[in-house]
């Protein structure tokens, strides 16, 4: 009996040891719930569009601070004064803080998308080797390059000398001057243009509103403008104009509302959507940043904004002096406090009736401490919100480049000596003026074009600021207590980046 028991004992022991030794193989199991890039099947070329959509998603998911930081320093717009984000307000006054989080965040926001788009290009190239239609792959790559070019352009406008991340491999530790960056962008656009569809973006069937040949031309024109290569500007804009695919949206007010989505006028826009439903999925931008902090919306429960983007008194008076109507009404939301501020100047004691704290869409803008005015171009009337949605401005698109800017760049280039057979400077300016309800001009001067740009493109992407910097019209930027000089053109590199990137450290 004892022997049997003993035998059992060792049998049990032996069985257990045997089991234990079989457990080791599990250590090589892969992680769950991940797609490893190496596992992607590039022979399935139907998916070649996926990385491109990813690039559009990157471009669209703009952080709310990116564009305001790019745009706030012009004499068209102020930061709004009281409250938080003091260093944003200081930036508007040309007092820069290298440690301010917004600088770093905007830098990273723009660069991470450049790097993301580079990786999308790498992915499309992987598919390309198996693709039957190689030119489609080239088109996709070219679309991504245009988006990337636009982002690089913004980076260089804000910081001057910047890095150009290569399409593959690590970023080389070289700072390129603004001139070099613009030349790079122009070369990139030239590479891309032949591969891109000859369509208005809204005519595209695969990616409606996506990049076409004209988007690339527009980016190329802006890069040439930065270089003061006015013939280059005229050549690019001429091609856009001659295509006759673009026209101005007749109603300026509606251009910046739901009506303006994929308008004939838009050459590049960031698309957002609530998909027409009152609840659920919503891909949107934080338009609240631009909106008034206090309002009584026509549709109850509609959310107000944050009040961080205030049209300047200078701009409003400039517009009143010109007897502007629809453009002023569209660009500015007035509060009673703001109206009183305008009227302090006896010259403006009587104001046109549209200068009212109630918009034509029936929303009443109440006084709020941060600012006197809010941006009208970023305003979506509460009645245009999809019922059920309450976020300020949601479902609106963000217009990036529009035909009016092309016409005015074209006109400016011609007045500065460039030549074109596509359209005269007078014709271009008068197209824009006509839509604004203004009388035509003859023999327009550069100064008149610049005024027209100011009136037309205020609050849009800092176009005014970069024009003034390019033309060295620093006195225009020295307004309402500010003083601007050439040393203040570029923001300091974000300290967090300086601490990380040797080339920035050396430059310091």
């Amino acid at each position: 009996m004892t022997t049997i028991l003993k035998l059992n004992k060792y049998l049990v022991l032996f069985a257990m040891l045997l089991l234990v030794s079989s457990c080791n193989d599990y250590l090589n199991e892969p992680q769950e719930n991940l797609i490893y890039t190496r596992d992607i099947d590039y022979t399935d070329t139907q998916n070649m569009i996926m990385p491109l959509i990813g690039a559009y998603a990157d471009f669209q998911s703009r952080g709310w601070e990116d564009i305001p930081l790019i745009a706030v320093r012009g004499d068209d717009v102020n930061a709004g004064g009281l409250g938080d984000q003091q260093d944003y307000a200081e930036t508007d006054k040309f007092k820069y803080n290298k440690d301010y989080w917004m600088y770093n965040s905007a830098w990273l926001g723009l660069y991470s998308d450049v790097v993301g788009i580079n990786s999308a290009i790498g992915q499309i190239e992987q598919y390309k080797q198996y693709a039957a239609n190689k030119s489609l792959a080239d088109q996709y790559i070219s679309e991504a390059k245009v988006l990337r070019g636009f982002l690089l352009l913004q980076l260089s406008r804000v910081w001057g000398s910047v890095f150009i991340p290569a399409f593959s491999g690590p970023v080389d530790n070289t700072l390129y001057t603004k001139q070099q960056v613009m030349e790079h962008i122009i070369a990139q656009m030239d590479e891309a243009i032949p591969n891109l569809p000859d369509l208005h973006p809204k005519q595209r069937s695969d990616i409606r509103g996506g990049v076409t040949r004209y988007t690339a031309l527009a980016v190329k024109a802006i890069a040439n403008l930065e270089l003061k290569n006015y013939q280059g500007v005229a050549d690019a804009t001429s091609q856009i104009i001659s295509s006759q695919k673009f026209s101005l949206e007749p109603d300026f007010y509606k251009l910046f509302k739901i009506h303006g989505k994929l308008s004939n006028e838009n050459i590049l826009e960031i698309q957002y959507s609530d998909f027409g439903k009152g609840t659920g999925d919503n891909i949107s931008h934080l338009f609240a940043f631009y909106g008034p902090q206090n309002w009584t919306p026509k549709v109850a429960q509609s959310g107000s904004g944050w009040g961080f983007f205030e049209p300047s008194l200078k701009y409003i008076k400039f517009m009143l002096d010109r007897n502007e109507t629809v453009r002023l009404e569209t660009s500015v939301l007035f509060t009673n406090r703001g109206i009183a501020e305008i009227q302090k100047d006896s010259k403006y004691a009587t104001l046109p009736t549209f200068v009212s704290n109630t918009t034509r869409s029936g929303d009443r803008i109440n006084d709020y401490p941060r600012a006197l005015f809010a941006s009208g171009k970023h305003y979506l009337p509460s009645e245009e919100l999809t019922p059920g949605r309450t976020d300020y401005g949601t479902n609106k698109n963000y217009i990036v480049i529009r035909y009016a800017e092309i016409l005015l760049m074209h006109a400016e280039a011609l007045t500065r000596g460039a030549s074109s057979s596509a359209m005269t400077a007078d014709a271009a300016v008068n197209l824009v003026r006509a839509r604004a309800g203004l009388t035509p001009l003859n023999n327009v001067t550069s100064a008149q074009v610049m005024d027209e740009k100011y009136a037309e493109l205020a609050m849009e992407w800092g176009i005014r600021f970069y024009d003034m910097v390019r033309l060295e019209r620093y006195s225009d930027l020295s307004y309402e207590g500010r003083t601007f000089n050439a040393d203040l053109i570029y923001l300091p590199y974000p300290q967090a980046q300086v601490d990380q990137i040797p080339a920035l450290k050396e430059k310091k």
């Binding site: 797609i35 959509i53 998603a57 938080d84 440690d99 790097v115 959310g303």
Partner: protein
């Protein structure tokens, strides 16, 4: 030959004894509460003659008339008694809290205290149950030097526990210690009923914890649940308490008059108009007609006294071949936030051991915990802080408010509705947490008493169902929730392990040693699924289902999953020579599927020298026992995320022509990680002095995380990838003193004290000078040479008092400052205040903690008091910081009263107008306050009812107790409570005082 000699001498001695005259002795052995102790060994000194007590503690024995009896029992102090002619000897044994022969668990085995070379603190059940809490770890607050416990006031929430600082970058859920419950691994022990725990042992140093290898670096806390004992009379026990939780140190907010004053002094026309609107809407105060006739104390509105109760019934006992311990327990706790905020837990458990035959013991352990938690809507805390006192709770004229006519501050002109009541009324956050843990084991005695083999299979299975429902309401034309919302998630966790352990122990001559070797296999899996719905019939809870919702957003649907395997080899040697020299070593090799590098190796060694056993110390009057200890070891932390190890691609969505279109986003940067390795050196002493009445344990440690996982920013991307690249150090000194004595007349007392210091230091960050953390406006920075996530900002030097001071200071002039603004320290003396003038303002880690406790027993009365305090930690008063964004809200009374409002009125706070200026809103030491506090942690008075008969019927032995938990906390911080785990006080759930009445009855 030797054996023969033994046998011979044994027979001889028995013969000799039996030849002598014998006398009978009998009696009863009891513990100090007069309960019979079964199984006590009674030996006639110097002989093999002896017996053990029966179930009731009775014994009888034949001994020689000159004999001395030795009574001994595990966990009690041995007692020697000369018979001296007596025939009845009743003995009361004292428990040996200080006893060096006490056996404690050390992970995959046990060890006696005297053989320890490491730092382990054990807390027993009777200490744990003094704290009325659902969370056992709460009871350890202030009791264990080097263990930081940060309470949480929310019902059902576990306290934050840190063993010897933080060795991993905070905020990744990777700092908490490992809990080992009866051999099973857990991240939290929120499912255990504290009174079911027999002991909690905190393994503090590397030498103690290293046997847990890759899971040990944050410290290990071993929990043994209660079990029965062999030959134990069956015992039925009721344990319960009922009590109330009362909010303590409720922060005083500015009242209507103070608030009105601040608003008017701010110089803002808008704010003045809101006050006017309030007076028009609600009338003027009769006391001060310039103040609206509303004075709401919002904290009073949202707080309530809340009940707490615990009831448990347990059965335990054992025969010669089996032991059992089974029980049921109910714990219920309401939250002090006046909404559906409560926690209930129902537990059942059983533990059995069975000696199947002379070589095989089998057993099993099962705990089922069924908890339901209605979580607080924590934003209510913040809203109550900010809501202006001139806003009433209700406003019958506010017809836009549905379904209840709550008042909205928007009606006075304010930006937000402010009223916290809808937040509490219309949110229901339910979490069901059901957990089953089960294990079975078989132990084979290969060589009896020497070599055994134990195989244990454990499975812990949890199902978490979370349902958060928001009901529709409006509070004014602009705010509310138009449609009902529901979010649901279900997760299942399954964690299995299989341990096989071989243990050999032997004593030969002066050598005593134990050798253990084993393997452990782990299989951890998780699966989760979640979805949400909008707009469903919400009137009845039966219809709170996503299926009933009109909209089910696509981006609200998701799932997750994880499966990880581990395999480990482990071993331990502990050796004692002549009880004088001790050596201890463990080794663990951990293999894991989580990382590309599969295997980690974690060794430790410990040495001990018992000086009191040396000849030169033998006659020491000072020390009864003195041991020097030193240990070194390496530990791992694998709580970090798994390493991706290669580029990954994820699905993203964008809008194209009002369609939601999917795309791919490929990340070329990826994490490449392994576990963190911590190396720790510990030196300490253990001493017993003054006839063993005083015990001293002191330790000094240095604990270096050699390859801490930190975010390494990839330039040009928002991505910070995780890399093993940081070096963090925690070091500190710990001292625990305990004095126990029994005086005549049934009076006994004990005194204890413990202190601990902690220094947390960052030593390397992969060459990066710092890592930024926290919110940009309230920067926390991890800087080499400073502590993790230290608060970082400006140092204030007071407030400018008059224009002369402004004029004299170029900085003040350059920034257009006025009297009532802060004066900041120009750290670099460049006559400018800019970001380069920021400095470290302090850390949220306390650098000194201390606890005192005392106990007094007199006859049937017991009184105990414990206190706890900490010093040196800072709290970011983030509530005050909110003024950066919205400057017309309420503020605390201290700020309102002590604001600068004229020369000499304050050098601490700016003026009301100044509070709203960017200059004064910079992150500075104005926002970062001292978090030191001292607290009376626990006071308990108990009365033991024993052998009481009522009308001839013997009543069961009972114990009645009155407990005050945290009745008094003293601190300077301008907040509700100074216990804030991460140092950022924004909407921390306040920690209430608890008063309970308890009853234990033993049948």
């Amino acid at each position: 030959m030797k054996k023969l000699f033994f046998l011979f001498s044994f027979i001889l001695s028995v013969t000799i004894i039996s030849a002598q005259q014998r006398t009978a002795v009998s009696g009863k052995v009891t513990d100090k509460s007069n309960l019979g102790l079964p199984g006590v060994t009674i030996l006639e000194k110097g002989t093999q003659n002896g017996t053990i007590t029966d179930f009731d503690g009775n014994y009888s024995l034949q001994v020689s008339p000159q004999a001395t009896l030795v009574f001994s029992f595990v966990g009690f102090q041995s007692v020697e008694q000369e018979i001296a002619g007596r025939s009845v000897i009743n003995i009361v044994l004292q428990e040996t809290t200080l006893d060096l022969d006490e056996v404690i668990v050390v992970g995959y085995g046990t060890l006696t205290v005297k053989d320890l070379t490491s730092s382990i603190t054990t807390v027993k059940n009777e200490e744990l149950v003094k704290t009325p809490s659902g969370q056992a770890m709460q009871a350890l607050q202030g009791k264990v030097a080097g263990l930081q416990v940060v309470s949480s006031g929310a019902p059902g929430a576990s306290p934050t526990v840190r063993v010897r600082g933080i060795g991993s970058y905070p905020g990744r859920n990777a700092e908490s210690p490992l809990y080992v419950v009866d051999g099973m691994f857990f991240n939290s022990i929120d499912f255990i009923n504290p009174s079911d725990i027999a002991t909690i042992s905190v393994l503090k140093d590397a030498s103690a914890a290293a046997i847990y290898g890759v899971r040990a670096a944050n410290g290990v806390i071993l929990i043994e649940t209660k079990s029965g004992s062999y030959n134990q009379k069956s015992e039925i026990m009721y344990e319960g308490y009922y009590g109330m939780q009362i909010a303590q140190n409720v922060l005083k907010m500015a009242n209507a008059e103070q608030y009105t004053n601040m608003a008017l002094e701010s110089g803002s026309a808008a704010d003045a108009s809101y006050i006017l609107n309030a007076m028009q809407r609600y009338g003027r105060s009769r006391v001060n007609p310039n103040v609206p006739d509303v004075n709401t104390d919002w904290y009073k509105e949202i707080l309530r006294p809340a009940s707490i109760q615990n009831h448990g019934l347990s059965f335990s006992g054992g025969s010669e071949t089996a032991t059992y311990s089974i029980g049921v327990n109910y714990f219920g706790q309401e939250g002090i936030l006046d909404m559906k905020n409560e926690y209930e837990r129902f537990n059942i458990r059983s533990k059995v051991d069975f000696k199947a035959n002379d070589w095989l013991t089998i057993g099993g352990n099962m705990i089922f915990s069924n908890a339901m938690n209605y979580g607080a809507q924590n934003s209510a805390w913040e809203q109550a802080y900010f809501a202006v006192p001139i806003l009433p709770v209700y406003d019958e004229e506010n017809i836009a408010a549905t379904p209840v006519r709550y008042a909205s501050a928007k009606n006075m002109g304010y930006r937000g509705s402010q009223n916290p009541m809808p937040t509490m009324d219309y949110n229901f956050n339910r979490l069901k947490n059901r957990k089953l843990i089960a294990n079975v084991y078989a132990q084979i005695d290969i060589i009896p008493k020497k070599l055994d083999f134990k195989s244990t299979y454990n499975h812990s299975f949890s199902a978490l169902n979370e349902r958060n429902v928001g009901l529709p309401y409006t509070i004014d034309d602009l705010s509310g929730r138009p449609l009902a919302t529901i979010n649901k998630s279900m997760s299942v966790y399954s964690e299995q392990s299989w341990d096989n352990i071989l243990t050999f122990s032997n004593t030969a001559d002066r050598h005593r040693y134990t050798v253990m070797a084993g393997t452990s296999f782990r299989d951890d899996a998780y699966e989760g699924l979640w979805a949400s719905g909008i707009d469903f019939p919400w009137q009845n809870e039966e219809s709170w289902y996503i299926g009933q919702a009109v909209t089910k957003p696509e981006d609200g649907v998701g799932d997750g999953g994880m499966r990880q395997y581990g395999f480990s080899y482990l071993g331990r040697i502990s050796y004692s020579y002549n009880d004088r020299y001790l050596a201890y070593a463990t080794f663990r090799a951990d293999g894991s599927s989580k990382y590309q590098e599969k295997w980690g190796y974690f060794p430790t060694v410990g040495l001990g020298w018992v000086l009191s056993e040396e000849n030169f110390m033998r006659d020491s009057k000072l020390f009864d026992y003195l041991k020097l200890r030193a240990s070194w070891g390496q530990l791992g932390n694998d709580k970090l995320p798994a390493s991706d190890g290669a580029s990954t691609t994820s699905v993203v969505y964008t809008a194209i022509d009002d369609e939601r279109i999917a795309g791919h986003k490929t990340e070329d940067s990826f994490s490449w990680l392994k576990w963190e390795m911590t190396e720790e050196t510990n030196v300490g002493i253990t001493a017993r002095m003054a006839k063993s009445r005083l015990s001293v344990d002191a330790d000094y440690y240095i604990r270096d995380t050699k390859n801490a996982v930190i975010g390494v920013a990839i330039p040009f991307t928002r991505i910070t990838v995780m890399r093993n690249a940081g070096v963090f150090r925690n070091s500190g000194f710990e001292l625990a003193l305990n004095w126990t004595d029994n005086l005549a007349n049934g009076l006994g007392y004990s005194l204890g004290a413990n202190i601990a210091t902690l220094k947390n230091e960052v030593r390397d960050l992969y060459g990066q000078p710092y890592l930024d953390g926290g919110q940009a406006e309230f920067r926390q920075r991890t800087i080499v040479g400073s502590s993790l996530l230290a608060f970082f900002g400006y140092e204030t030097l007071g407030v400018y008092q008059n224009q002369a001071e402004i004029d004299a200071d170029p900085i003040a002039k350059a920034n257009n400052l006025v009297p009532g603004d802060f004066r900041y320290k120009d750290q670099n003396n460049d006559q400018k205040i800019d970001d380069d003038d920021r400095v470290v303002l302090g850390s949220y880690f306390p650098d000194f903690t201390y606890g005192f406790n005392g106990g007094l027993t007199y006859k049937n009365f017991e009184l105990s008091v414990s206190t706890f305090g900490q010093m040196g930690n800072k709290i970011l008063n983030r509530k005050r910081g909110e003024i950066i964004w919205t400057n017309d809200l309420n503020m605390d009374a201290d700020l309102a009263k002590n604001r600068w409002h004229g020369e000499g009125t304050s050098n601490k706070y700016p003026s009301s107008a100044g509070l709203r200026k960017g200059w004064n809103q910079k992150m500075s030491d104005y926002f970062v306050e001292d978090g030191s506090f001292f607290r009376i942690q626990n006071v308990q008075l108990a009365y033991n009812l024993k052998n009481v008969t009522l009308t001839g019927v013997k009543l069961p032995d009972s114990r009645i107790s009155f407990t005050a938990e945290r009745p008094l906390t003293m601190f300077k911080y301008n907040g509700f409570n100074p216990e804030v785990a991460n140092g950022i006080d924004r909407q921390t759930y306040p920690i209430p005082a608890v008063y309970t009445v308890g009853l234990n009855v033993k049948f």
